[in-house]
Symmetry: C2
Subunit: 308 residues, 2 copies
Protein backbone atom coordinates (compact mmCIF):
# COMPACT_ATOMS: atom_id res chain seq x y z
CA UNK A 1 0.00 0.00 0.00
CA UNK A 2 1.16 3.50 -0.81
CA UNK A 3 0.91 5.79 2.16
CA UNK A 4 0.18 9.51 2.16
CA UNK A 5 1.67 11.92 4.66
CA UNK A 6 1.14 15.36 6.07
CA UNK A 7 2.88 17.64 8.52
CA UNK A 8 1.30 18.94 11.73
CA UNK A 9 2.84 21.90 13.53
CA UNK A 10 1.81 22.95 17.02
CA UNK A 11 3.01 26.46 17.81
CA UNK A 12 3.26 27.17 21.51
CA UNK A 13 4.76 30.15 23.28
CA UNK A 14 7.74 28.08 24.46
CA UNK A 15 8.13 25.23 21.95
CA UNK A 16 7.12 24.46 18.40
CA UNK A 17 6.39 20.77 17.85
CA UNK A 18 6.31 19.20 14.42
CA UNK A 19 5.25 15.75 13.34
CA UNK A 20 5.21 13.70 10.15
CA UNK A 21 1.77 12.06 10.15
CA UNK A 22 0.66 9.06 8.10
CA UNK A 23 -2.92 8.95 6.74
CA UNK A 24 -3.93 6.48 9.47
CA UNK A 25 -3.02 8.93 12.24
CA UNK A 26 0.35 7.44 13.12
CA UNK A 27 2.99 10.03 13.94
CA UNK A 28 5.99 8.57 12.08
CA UNK A 29 8.53 11.00 13.49
CA UNK A 30 8.55 14.26 15.38
CA UNK A 31 10.84 17.18 16.04
CA UNK A 32 10.82 20.31 18.18
CA UNK A 33 12.42 23.74 18.29
CA UNK A 34 12.19 26.60 20.77
CA UNK A 35 9.70 29.29 19.81
CA UNK A 36 10.72 32.07 22.15
CA UNK A 37 14.26 32.51 20.78
CA UNK A 38 12.83 34.11 17.61
CA UNK A 39 11.69 37.69 17.13
CA UNK A 40 11.30 37.53 13.33
CA UNK A 41 9.13 35.25 11.22
CA UNK A 42 11.64 34.52 8.41
CA UNK A 43 14.36 32.75 10.45
CA UNK A 44 11.68 30.96 12.50
CA UNK A 45 9.99 29.50 9.40
CA UNK A 46 13.42 28.78 7.90
CA UNK A 47 14.29 26.58 10.86
CA UNK A 48 10.85 24.92 10.86
CA UNK A 49 11.24 24.05 7.18
CA UNK A 50 14.74 22.65 7.84
CA UNK A 51 13.24 20.34 10.48
CA UNK A 52 10.44 19.30 8.12
CA UNK A 53 12.90 18.55 5.35
CA UNK A 54 14.92 16.41 7.75
CA UNK A 55 11.83 14.53 8.99
CA UNK A 56 10.85 13.76 5.42
CA UNK A 57 14.34 12.79 4.28
CA UNK A 58 15.05 10.52 7.25
CA UNK A 59 11.80 8.67 6.64
CA UNK A 60 12.11 8.51 2.85
CA UNK A 61 8.98 10.60 2.39
CA UNK A 62 9.21 12.59 -0.83
CA UNK A 63 5.78 14.20 -0.90
CA UNK A 64 3.36 15.54 1.66
CA UNK A 65 -0.28 16.47 1.23
CA UNK A 66 0.13 19.71 3.11
CA UNK A 67 1.12 21.48 6.31
CA UNK A 68 -1.42 22.12 9.07
CA UNK A 69 -0.67 24.57 11.85
CA UNK A 70 -2.39 24.94 15.21
CA UNK A 71 -1.48 28.27 16.77
CA UNK A 72 -2.82 30.77 19.27
CA UNK A 73 -4.79 33.38 17.27
CA UNK A 74 -4.33 31.29 14.12
CA UNK A 75 -6.66 32.69 11.47
CA UNK A 76 -8.09 30.13 9.08
CA UNK A 77 -9.13 32.69 6.49
CA UNK A 78 -5.86 34.56 6.14
CA UNK A 79 -3.29 31.86 6.92
CA UNK A 80 -1.83 34.30 9.46
CA UNK A 81 -1.25 34.34 13.20
CA UNK A 82 -2.74 37.65 14.36
CA UNK A 83 -0.88 39.36 17.21
CA UNK A 84 -0.65 36.39 19.54
CA UNK A 85 0.10 37.77 23.00
CA UNK A 86 2.19 34.76 24.07
CA UNK A 87 4.56 34.75 21.08
CA UNK A 88 7.88 36.60 21.00
CA UNK A 89 7.40 37.22 17.26
CA UNK A 90 5.03 40.18 17.14
CA UNK A 91 2.47 41.37 14.62
CA UNK A 92 0.49 39.64 11.90
CA UNK A 93 2.51 36.63 10.79
CA UNK A 94 1.82 35.26 7.31
CA UNK A 95 2.89 31.65 7.69
CA UNK A 96 1.31 30.54 4.44
CA UNK A 97 3.29 33.03 2.35
CA UNK A 98 6.54 32.35 4.20
CA UNK A 99 6.22 28.56 3.92
CA UNK A 100 5.47 28.81 0.20
CA UNK A 101 8.97 30.24 -0.29
CA UNK A 102 10.19 26.74 0.54
CA UNK A 103 7.47 24.32 -0.46
CA UNK A 104 4.38 24.58 -2.68
CA UNK A 105 1.88 22.60 -0.60
CA UNK A 106 -1.45 23.60 0.98
CA UNK A 107 -0.98 25.39 4.31
CA UNK A 108 -3.96 25.49 6.69
CA UNK A 109 -3.97 27.37 9.97
CA UNK A 110 -6.41 27.44 12.88
CA UNK A 111 -6.31 27.86 16.61
CA UNK A 112 -5.32 24.94 18.79
CA UNK A 113 -8.78 24.04 20.11
CA UNK A 114 -10.20 24.03 16.58
CA UNK A 115 -7.33 21.83 15.49
CA UNK A 116 -8.02 19.45 18.39
CA UNK A 117 -11.67 19.17 17.31
CA UNK A 118 -10.72 18.46 13.74
CA UNK A 119 -8.06 15.96 14.82
CA UNK A 120 -10.73 14.10 16.77
CA UNK A 121 -12.85 13.88 13.63
CA UNK A 122 -10.09 12.74 11.29
CA UNK A 123 -8.08 10.48 13.61
CA UNK A 124 -9.99 10.04 16.89
CA UNK A 125 -13.34 9.25 18.46
CA UNK A 126 -15.36 11.59 16.26
CA UNK A 127 -14.67 9.62 13.05
CA UNK A 128 -17.93 9.47 11.13
CA UNK A 129 -19.50 12.35 13.07
CA UNK A 130 -20.08 15.61 11.27
CA UNK A 131 -21.66 17.63 14.04
CA UNK A 132 -19.94 17.86 17.40
CA UNK A 133 -18.25 20.25 19.82
CA UNK A 134 -14.89 19.84 21.53
CA UNK A 135 -14.17 21.45 24.90
CA UNK A 136 -10.51 21.58 25.96
CA UNK A 137 -9.74 22.24 29.62
CA UNK A 138 -6.27 23.50 30.49
CA UNK A 139 -4.73 26.83 31.40
CA UNK A 140 -7.82 28.23 29.72
CA UNK A 141 -10.94 26.65 28.27
CA UNK A 142 -10.99 26.31 24.49
CA UNK A 143 -13.56 24.93 22.11
CA UNK A 144 -13.87 23.82 18.52
CA UNK A 145 -17.21 23.44 16.80
CA UNK A 146 -17.74 21.09 13.85
CA UNK A 147 -20.95 21.53 11.86
CA UNK A 148 -21.74 19.61 8.67
CA UNK A 149 -18.20 18.26 8.75
CA UNK A 150 -16.59 21.69 8.75
CA UNK A 151 -15.00 23.75 11.49
CA UNK A 152 -17.08 26.81 12.39
CA UNK A 153 -14.81 29.82 11.87
CA UNK A 154 -17.50 32.48 11.59
CA UNK A 155 -17.21 35.82 9.86
CA UNK A 156 -13.95 36.79 11.57
CA UNK A 157 -12.20 33.44 11.80
CA UNK A 158 -12.54 33.66 15.59
CA UNK A 159 -15.72 31.66 16.19
CA UNK A 160 -15.89 28.90 18.79
CA UNK A 161 -14.67 30.67 21.91
CA UNK A 162 -17.07 28.98 24.31
CA UNK A 163 -14.57 29.34 27.16
CA UNK A 164 -15.56 33.00 27.08
CA UNK A 165 -19.28 32.39 27.15
CA UNK A 166 -20.46 34.22 30.25
CA UNK A 167 -21.78 31.44 32.47
CA UNK A 168 -22.51 33.42 35.60
CA UNK A 169 -23.38 37.11 35.08
CA UNK A 170 -21.16 39.30 37.26
CA UNK A 171 -19.25 36.21 38.34
CA UNK A 172 -15.51 35.71 38.69
CA UNK A 173 -13.09 38.15 37.07
CA UNK A 174 -11.69 36.75 33.82
CA UNK A 175 -8.33 37.58 32.24
CA UNK A 176 -10.29 38.81 29.20
CA UNK A 177 -11.50 41.76 31.29
CA UNK A 178 -15.09 40.58 31.67
CA UNK A 179 -16.75 38.64 34.45
CA UNK A 180 -18.20 35.16 34.83
CA UNK A 181 -16.69 33.44 31.75
CA UNK A 182 -16.84 29.63 31.74
CA UNK A 183 -13.03 29.68 31.78
CA UNK A 184 -12.93 31.28 35.22
CA UNK A 185 -14.70 28.21 36.65
CA UNK A 186 -13.55 25.17 34.68
CA UNK A 187 -9.96 25.96 33.66
CA UNK A 188 -7.21 24.45 35.81
CA UNK A 189 -6.93 27.78 37.59
CA UNK A 190 -10.70 28.04 38.09
CA UNK A 191 -10.82 24.57 39.61
CA UNK A 192 -8.01 25.50 42.02
CA UNK A 193 -9.90 28.65 42.98
CA UNK A 194 -13.08 26.71 43.75
CA UNK A 195 -11.15 24.22 45.89
CA UNK A 196 -9.37 26.98 47.81
CA UNK A 197 -12.65 28.84 48.37
CA UNK A 198 -14.23 25.67 49.78
CA UNK A 199 -11.17 25.09 51.97
CA UNK A 200 -11.06 28.71 53.06
CA UNK A 201 -7.40 29.03 52.03
CA UNK A 202 -5.74 31.53 49.70
CA UNK A 203 -5.03 30.49 46.09
CA UNK A 204 -1.33 29.64 45.79
CA UNK A 205 1.15 27.64 43.68
CA UNK A 206 1.00 24.95 46.36
CA UNK A 207 -2.36 23.82 44.97
CA UNK A 208 -2.95 22.55 41.43
CA UNK A 209 -5.75 20.74 39.63
CA UNK A 210 -3.79 17.45 39.41
CA UNK A 211 -3.50 17.42 43.20
CA UNK A 212 -7.22 18.12 43.60
CA UNK A 213 -7.87 15.22 41.22
CA UNK A 214 -5.70 12.86 43.23
CA UNK A 215 -7.35 13.94 46.48
CA UNK A 216 -10.80 13.33 44.99
CA UNK A 217 -9.83 9.84 43.90
CA UNK A 218 -8.64 9.21 47.47
CA UNK A 219 -12.08 10.24 48.75
CA UNK A 220 -11.28 13.70 50.09
CA UNK A 221 -14.70 15.37 50.56
CA UNK A 222 -13.62 18.93 49.73
CA UNK A 223 -11.92 17.76 46.54
CA UNK A 224 -14.99 15.70 45.59
CA UNK A 225 -17.21 18.72 46.22
CA UNK A 226 -14.93 20.81 44.01
CA UNK A 227 -15.35 18.45 41.05
CA UNK A 228 -19.07 18.29 41.67
CA UNK A 229 -19.30 22.07 41.32
CA UNK A 230 -17.03 22.07 38.26
CA UNK A 231 -19.03 19.24 36.68
CA UNK A 232 -22.25 21.13 37.26
CA UNK A 233 -20.85 24.31 35.70
CA UNK A 234 -19.38 22.52 32.70
CA UNK A 235 -22.58 20.49 32.23
CA UNK A 236 -24.59 23.71 32.11
CA UNK A 237 -22.24 25.23 29.56
CA UNK A 238 -22.39 22.11 27.41
CA UNK A 239 -26.19 21.96 27.58
CA UNK A 240 -26.31 25.61 26.51
CA UNK A 241 -24.06 24.86 23.56
CA UNK A 242 -26.54 22.23 22.35
CA UNK A 243 -29.23 24.92 21.87
CA UNK A 244 -26.95 26.38 19.26
CA UNK A 245 -25.94 23.54 16.94
CA UNK A 246 -27.70 20.40 18.24
CA UNK A 247 -24.50 18.30 18.05
CA UNK A 248 -24.39 14.50 18.07
CA UNK A 249 -21.69 14.52 20.73
CA UNK A 250 -19.65 16.79 22.94
CA UNK A 251 -16.02 15.80 23.42
CA UNK A 252 -13.86 16.69 26.33
CA UNK A 253 -10.09 16.73 26.72
CA UNK A 254 -7.26 18.27 28.68
CA UNK A 255 -5.28 17.83 31.89
CA UNK A 256 -8.07 18.41 34.43
CA UNK A 257 -10.27 15.75 32.79
CA UNK A 258 -7.78 13.02 33.81
CA UNK A 259 -9.40 12.97 37.24
CA UNK A 260 -12.10 10.76 35.66
CA UNK A 261 -15.33 9.88 37.47
CA UNK A 262 -15.20 12.58 40.17
CA UNK A 263 -15.67 15.05 37.28
CA UNK A 264 -17.52 12.91 34.72
CA UNK A 265 -20.28 11.67 37.02
CA UNK A 266 -21.55 15.12 38.08
CA UNK A 267 -20.86 16.42 34.57
CA UNK A 268 -23.17 13.85 32.95
CA UNK A 269 -25.81 14.38 35.63
CA UNK A 270 -25.72 18.15 35.15
CA UNK A 271 -25.77 17.87 31.37
CA UNK A 272 -28.92 15.76 31.53
CA UNK A 273 -30.51 18.12 34.05
CA UNK A 274 -29.79 21.27 32.04
CA UNK A 275 -30.47 19.87 28.56
CA UNK A 276 -33.62 21.17 26.85
CA UNK A 277 -36.08 18.27 26.52
CA UNK A 278 -36.22 18.33 22.72
CA UNK A 279 -32.55 17.27 22.67
CA UNK A 280 -32.90 14.44 25.21
CA UNK A 281 -30.96 11.39 24.07
CA UNK A 282 -29.62 13.10 20.95
CA UNK A 283 -26.20 14.14 22.27
CA UNK A 284 -23.68 12.34 24.44
CA UNK A 285 -20.60 13.49 26.32
CA UNK A 286 -17.46 11.63 25.33
CA UNK A 287 -13.78 11.76 26.18
CA UNK A 288 -11.26 12.51 23.46
CA UNK A 289 -9.70 9.30 22.13
CA UNK A 290 -6.45 10.94 21.08
CA UNK A 291 -3.35 10.70 23.27
CA UNK A 292 -2.55 13.90 25.17
CA UNK A 293 0.98 14.09 23.73
CA UNK A 294 -0.24 13.52 20.15
CA UNK A 295 -3.42 15.58 19.88
CA UNK A 296 -1.76 18.90 19.02
CA UNK A 297 0.26 17.47 16.12
CA UNK A 298 -2.56 15.22 14.87
CA UNK A 299 -5.05 18.07 15.11
CA UNK A 300 -2.79 20.38 13.14
CA UNK A 301 -2.13 17.70 10.51
CA UNK A 302 -5.87 17.00 10.25
CA UNK A 303 -6.58 20.62 9.28
CA UNK A 304 -5.42 19.97 5.72
CA UNK A 305 -8.26 17.44 5.37
CA UNK A 306 -10.78 20.22 5.90
CA UNK A 307 -13.46 20.57 3.27
CA UNK A 308 -13.23 24.02 1.80
CA UNK B 1 -39.46 40.64 -17.28
CA UNK B 2 -40.69 37.17 -16.44
CA UNK B 3 -41.37 36.82 -12.75
CA UNK B 4 -40.93 33.74 -10.60
CA UNK B 5 -43.17 32.93 -7.66
CA UNK B 6 -43.24 30.80 -4.57
CA UNK B 7 -45.72 30.06 -1.80
CA UNK B 8 -45.09 30.79 1.87
CA UNK B 9 -47.22 29.11 4.52
CA UNK B 10 -47.20 30.15 8.17
CA UNK B 11 -48.80 27.53 10.37
CA UNK B 12 -50.02 28.87 13.69
CA UNK B 13 -52.13 27.16 16.30
CA UNK B 14 -55.15 29.30 15.43
CA UNK B 15 -54.69 30.35 11.80
CA UNK B 16 -52.79 29.21 8.76
CA UNK B 17 -51.67 32.09 6.54
CA UNK B 18 -50.63 31.61 2.95
CA UNK B 19 -49.08 34.02 0.49
CA UNK B 20 -48.08 34.07 -3.15
CA UNK B 21 -44.65 35.70 -3.17
CA UNK B 22 -42.86 37.24 -6.14
CA UNK B 23 -39.07 36.87 -6.39
CA UNK B 24 -38.58 40.48 -5.27
CA UNK B 25 -40.32 39.81 -1.94
CA UNK B 26 -43.69 41.29 -2.86
CA UNK B 27 -46.64 39.35 -1.48
CA UNK B 28 -48.97 39.37 -4.51
CA UNK B 29 -51.93 37.87 -2.69
CA UNK B 30 -52.69 36.13 0.57
CA UNK B 31 -55.25 33.82 2.07
CA UNK B 32 -56.00 32.30 5.46
CA UNK B 33 -57.82 29.33 6.98
CA UNK B 34 -58.42 28.25 10.55
CA UNK B 35 -55.96 25.67 11.81
CA UNK B 36 -57.73 24.47 14.92
CA UNK B 37 -60.83 23.09 13.19
CA UNK B 38 -58.75 20.19 11.83
CA UNK B 39 -57.78 17.00 13.62
CA UNK B 40 -56.44 15.15 10.56
CA UNK B 41 -53.66 16.13 8.16
CA UNK B 42 -55.31 15.06 4.87
CA UNK B 43 -58.33 17.43 4.90
CA UNK B 44 -56.14 20.23 6.27
CA UNK B 45 -53.62 19.95 3.43
CA UNK B 46 -56.51 19.50 0.97
CA UNK B 47 -57.94 22.87 2.00
CA UNK B 48 -54.51 24.53 1.98
CA UNK B 49 -53.91 23.29 -1.57
CA UNK B 50 -57.33 24.55 -2.65
CA UNK B 51 -56.39 28.02 -1.37
CA UNK B 52 -53.03 27.87 -3.14
CA UNK B 53 -54.67 26.82 -6.39
CA UNK B 54 -57.05 29.75 -6.09
CA UNK B 55 -54.24 32.24 -5.29
CA UNK B 56 -52.34 31.07 -8.36
CA UNK B 57 -55.35 31.02 -10.66
CA UNK B 58 -56.63 34.46 -9.64
CA UNK B 59 -53.21 35.95 -10.31
CA UNK B 60 -52.55 34.05 -13.52
CA UNK B 61 -49.55 32.28 -12.03
CA UNK B 62 -49.10 28.88 -13.61
CA UNK B 63 -45.90 27.73 -11.98
CA UNK B 64 -44.30 28.15 -8.58
CA UNK B 65 -40.74 27.41 -7.53
CA UNK B 66 -41.83 25.64 -4.39
CA UNK B 67 -43.72 25.77 -1.11
CA UNK B 68 -42.00 26.88 2.09
CA UNK B 69 -43.60 26.24 5.45
CA UNK B 70 -42.82 27.84 8.80
CA UNK B 71 -44.33 25.77 11.59
CA UNK B 72 -43.84 25.08 15.28
CA UNK B 73 -41.61 21.97 15.54
CA UNK B 74 -41.12 22.03 11.76
CA UNK B 75 -38.31 19.62 10.94
CA UNK B 76 -36.16 20.62 7.99
CA UNK B 77 -34.69 17.17 7.50
CA UNK B 78 -37.90 15.15 7.41
CA UNK B 79 -40.39 17.66 5.98
CA UNK B 80 -42.59 16.83 8.97
CA UNK B 81 -44.08 18.73 11.89
CA UNK B 82 -43.17 16.67 14.94
CA UNK B 83 -45.77 16.59 17.71
CA UNK B 84 -46.37 20.33 17.94
CA UNK B 85 -48.08 20.94 21.30
CA UNK B 86 -50.14 23.88 20.03
CA UNK B 87 -51.68 22.13 17.00
CA UNK B 88 -55.01 20.25 17.11
CA UNK B 89 -53.64 17.80 14.52
CA UNK B 90 -51.53 15.43 16.59
CA UNK B 91 -48.53 13.24 15.83
CA UNK B 92 -45.80 13.43 13.20
CA UNK B 93 -47.27 15.23 10.20
CA UNK B 94 -45.61 14.60 6.85
CA UNK B 95 -46.50 17.76 4.96
CA UNK B 96 -44.07 17.12 2.14
CA UNK B 97 -45.62 13.75 1.27
CA UNK B 98 -49.17 15.05 1.59
CA UNK B 99 -48.53 18.13 -0.57
CA UNK B 100 -46.89 16.00 -3.26
CA UNK B 101 -50.24 14.28 -3.79
CA UNK B 102 -51.39 17.60 -5.26
CA UNK B 103 -48.34 19.31 -6.67
CA UNK B 104 -44.80 18.15 -7.55
CA UNK B 105 -42.78 21.11 -6.29
CA UNK B 106 -40.04 21.36 -3.67
CA UNK B 107 -41.47 21.57 -0.14
CA UNK B 108 -39.20 22.98 2.58
CA UNK B 109 -40.15 23.13 6.24
CA UNK B 110 -38.53 24.77 9.23
CA UNK B 111 -39.59 26.39 12.45
CA UNK B 112 -40.90 29.95 12.43
CA UNK B 113 -37.81 31.65 13.88
CA UNK B 114 -35.56 29.91 11.37
CA UNK B 115 -37.90 30.98 8.60
CA UNK B 116 -37.79 34.57 9.87
CA UNK B 117 -33.99 34.51 9.76
CA UNK B 118 -33.95 33.16 6.25
CA UNK B 119 -36.61 35.63 5.14
CA UNK B 120 -34.41 38.43 6.41
CA UNK B 121 -31.56 37.12 4.28
CA UNK B 122 -33.54 36.64 1.09
CA UNK B 123 -35.90 39.63 1.28
CA UNK B 124 -34.85 41.88 4.19
CA UNK B 125 -31.96 43.62 5.88
CA UNK B 126 -29.63 40.62 5.84
CA UNK B 127 -29.34 40.54 2.03
CA UNK B 128 -25.69 39.90 1.21
CA UNK B 129 -24.86 38.62 4.69
CA UNK B 130 -24.08 34.96 5.09
CA UNK B 131 -23.40 34.83 8.79
CA UNK B 132 -25.92 36.30 11.22
CA UNK B 133 -28.34 35.43 14.01
CA UNK B 134 -32.00 36.43 14.34
CA UNK B 135 -33.66 36.79 17.74
CA UNK B 136 -37.47 36.96 17.75
CA UNK B 137 -39.18 38.28 20.86
CA UNK B 138 -42.84 37.41 21.37
CA UNK B 139 -44.80 34.95 23.48
CA UNK B 140 -41.50 33.09 23.62
CA UNK B 141 -38.00 33.91 22.39
CA UNK B 142 -36.97 32.21 19.17
CA UNK B 143 -33.79 32.31 17.16
CA UNK B 144 -32.49 31.38 13.75
CA UNK B 145 -28.81 31.05 12.98
CA UNK B 146 -27.39 31.51 9.50
CA UNK B 147 -23.83 30.34 8.92
CA UNK B 148 -22.12 30.33 5.51
CA UNK B 149 -25.47 31.25 3.97
CA UNK B 150 -27.27 28.23 5.39
CA UNK B 151 -29.65 27.82 8.31
CA UNK B 152 -28.08 25.86 11.16
CA UNK B 153 -30.36 22.87 11.76
CA UNK B 154 -27.86 20.65 13.59
CA UNK B 155 -27.99 16.89 13.86
CA UNK B 156 -31.64 16.74 14.96
CA UNK B 157 -33.13 19.58 12.92
CA UNK B 158 -33.78 21.41 16.20
CA UNK B 159 -30.71 23.65 16.45
CA UNK B 160 -31.01 27.37 17.12
CA UNK B 161 -33.10 27.43 20.30
CA UNK B 162 -31.26 30.30 21.96
CA UNK B 163 -34.41 31.32 23.83
CA UNK B 164 -33.72 28.26 25.94
CA UNK B 165 -30.12 29.08 26.61
CA UNK B 166 -29.88 29.26 30.39
CA UNK B 167 -28.94 32.87 31.07
CA UNK B 168 -29.19 32.90 34.83
CA UNK B 169 -28.50 29.56 36.55
CA UNK B 170 -31.34 28.69 38.94
CA UNK B 171 -33.24 31.72 37.71
CA UNK B 172 -36.91 32.05 36.77
CA UNK B 173 -39.01 28.96 36.13
CA UNK B 174 -39.43 28.33 32.40
CA UNK B 175 -42.34 26.55 30.71
CA UNK B 176 -39.76 24.05 29.38
CA UNK B 177 -39.34 22.74 32.93
CA UNK B 178 -35.89 24.20 33.51
CA UNK B 179 -34.85 27.43 35.18
CA UNK B 180 -33.28 30.68 34.03
CA UNK B 181 -33.84 30.41 30.25
CA UNK B 182 -33.42 33.65 28.28
CA UNK B 183 -37.11 33.35 27.36
CA UNK B 184 -38.19 33.80 30.98
CA UNK B 185 -36.61 37.28 30.97
CA UNK B 186 -36.99 38.71 27.48
CA UNK B 187 -40.26 37.26 26.16
CA UNK B 188 -43.36 39.46 26.43
CA UNK B 189 -44.33 37.56 29.56
CA UNK B 190 -40.83 37.88 31.05
CA UNK B 191 -40.86 41.62 30.48
CA UNK B 192 -44.23 41.90 32.22
CA UNK B 193 -42.89 39.88 35.14
CA UNK B 194 -39.88 42.16 35.55
CA UNK B 195 -42.09 45.24 35.49
CA UNK B 196 -44.49 43.77 38.05
CA UNK B 197 -41.61 42.75 40.30
CA UNK B 198 -40.23 46.30 40.20
CA UNK B 199 -43.70 47.72 40.88
CA UNK B 200 -44.33 45.21 43.64
CA UNK B 201 -47.63 44.13 42.06
CA UNK B 202 -48.83 40.66 41.05
CA UNK B 203 -48.52 39.60 37.39
CA UNK B 204 -51.96 39.87 35.76
CA UNK B 205 -53.65 40.29 32.38
CA UNK B 206 -54.00 43.99 33.18
CA UNK B 207 -50.32 44.46 32.31
CA UNK B 208 -48.76 43.72 28.93
CA UNK B 209 -45.48 44.50 27.21
CA UNK B 210 -47.06 47.01 24.81
CA UNK B 211 -48.30 49.03 27.80
CA UNK B 212 -44.86 48.93 29.42
CA UNK B 213 -43.43 50.16 26.12
CA UNK B 214 -45.86 53.07 25.98
CA UNK B 215 -45.17 53.97 29.60
CA UNK B 216 -41.43 53.97 28.94
CA UNK B 217 -41.83 56.29 25.97
CA UNK B 218 -43.84 58.61 28.25
CA UNK B 219 -40.92 58.65 30.69
CA UNK B 220 -42.28 56.36 33.40
CA UNK B 221 -39.23 55.48 35.52
CA UNK B 222 -40.31 51.93 36.45
CA UNK B 223 -41.06 51.10 32.82
CA UNK B 224 -37.71 52.59 31.75
CA UNK B 225 -35.93 50.55 34.39
CA UNK B 226 -37.72 47.43 33.12
CA UNK B 227 -36.40 47.92 29.58
CA UNK B 228 -32.95 48.66 30.94
CA UNK B 229 -32.91 45.29 32.70
CA UNK B 230 -34.33 43.50 29.65
CA UNK B 231 -31.78 45.20 27.37
CA UNK B 232 -28.97 44.15 29.66
CA UNK B 233 -30.15 40.53 29.70
CA UNK B 234 -30.66 40.36 25.96
CA UNK B 235 -27.31 42.06 25.31
CA UNK B 236 -25.58 39.43 27.42
CA UNK B 237 -27.33 36.62 25.55
CA UNK B 238 -26.40 38.16 22.20
CA UNK B 239 -22.77 38.64 23.22
CA UNK B 240 -22.66 34.99 24.30
CA UNK B 241 -24.03 33.90 20.95
CA UNK B 242 -21.14 35.68 19.21
CA UNK B 243 -18.62 33.34 20.90
CA UNK B 244 -20.27 30.56 18.97
CA UNK B 245 -20.45 31.66 15.34
CA UNK B 246 -18.85 35.13 15.18
CA UNK B 247 -21.73 36.58 13.12
CA UNK B 248 -21.56 39.82 11.10
CA UNK B 249 -24.83 41.01 12.60
CA UNK B 250 -27.52 40.09 15.08
CA UNK B 251 -31.08 40.93 14.02
CA UNK B 252 -33.99 41.55 16.32
CA UNK B 253 -37.72 41.43 15.69
CA UNK B 254 -41.06 40.94 17.40
CA UNK B 255 -43.75 42.87 19.28
CA UNK B 256 -41.74 43.92 22.35
CA UNK B 257 -39.02 45.47 20.16
CA UNK B 258 -41.46 48.13 18.93
CA UNK B 259 -40.76 50.12 22.10
CA UNK B 260 -37.60 51.35 20.34
CA UNK B 261 -34.89 53.29 22.16
CA UNK B 262 -35.90 52.41 25.74
CA UNK B 263 -34.89 48.83 24.81
CA UNK B 264 -32.30 49.44 22.08
CA UNK B 265 -30.12 51.88 23.97
CA UNK B 266 -29.43 49.64 26.99
CA UNK B 267 -29.27 46.62 24.64
CA UNK B 268 -26.47 48.13 22.56
CA UNK B 269 -24.64 49.28 25.68
CA UNK B 270 -24.86 45.81 27.25
CA UNK B 271 -23.83 44.07 24.03
CA UNK B 272 -20.69 46.18 23.87
CA UNK B 273 -19.97 45.62 27.55
CA UNK B 274 -20.37 41.84 27.38
CA UNK B 275 -18.73 41.24 23.99
CA UNK B 276 -15.37 39.46 24.08
CA UNK B 277 -12.70 41.93 22.91
CA UNK B 278 -11.61 39.87 19.88
CA UNK B 279 -15.06 40.49 18.37
CA UNK B 280 -15.15 44.25 19.03
CA UNK B 281 -16.52 46.07 16.00
CA UNK B 282 -17.14 42.89 14.01
CA UNK B 283 -20.84 42.47 14.78
CA UNK B 284 -23.70 44.97 14.97
CA UNK B 285 -27.22 44.74 16.33
CA UNK B 286 -29.87 45.58 13.75
CA UNK B 287 -33.65 45.63 13.57
CA UNK B 288 -35.45 43.36 11.12
CA UNK B 289 -36.39 45.26 7.97
CA UNK B 290 -39.39 43.07 7.16
CA UNK B 291 -42.91 44.20 8.04
CA UNK B 292 -44.40 42.46 11.07
CA UNK B 293 -47.44 41.26 9.12
CA UNK B 294 -45.34 39.94 6.24
CA UNK B 295 -42.35 38.30 7.90
CA UNK B 296 -43.96 34.90 8.54
CA UNK B 297 -45.07 34.42 4.92
CA UNK B 298 -41.89 35.88 3.44
CA UNK B 299 -39.75 33.77 5.76
CA UNK B 300 -41.60 30.61 4.80
CA UNK B 301 -41.38 31.43 1.09
CA UNK B 302 -37.65 32.16 1.45
CA UNK B 303 -36.98 28.65 2.76
CA UNK B 304 -37.15 27.22 -0.75
CA UNK B 305 -34.16 29.37 -1.68
CA UNK B 306 -32.06 27.53 0.85
CA UNK B 307 -28.83 26.05 -0.43
CA UNK B 308 -28.93 22.30 0.17
Amino acid sequence: MTHTYSIGIDIGGTNTDMGLVREDGTIIARSSISTNVYTELAPYVHDIMTCIGKLMHENSVEQIEGIGIGAPNGNFYTGCVDNAPNLTIKGVLNFEEEIHKYMQVPVVLSNDANAAAFGEMVYGGAKGLDNFIMFTLGTGVGSGIVLDGKLVHGSTGGAGELGHNILIPNGRQCSCGRKGCLETYTSARGIVQTYCELKGIPVSDAVNSKMIGDLANQGDPVALKTWEIVGDQLGLAMANSVTFSAPQAIFLMGGPTKVGEPLLKPLRRAFEKYLLNIYAGSCEIRMSELKANEVAILGAAALIKMKS
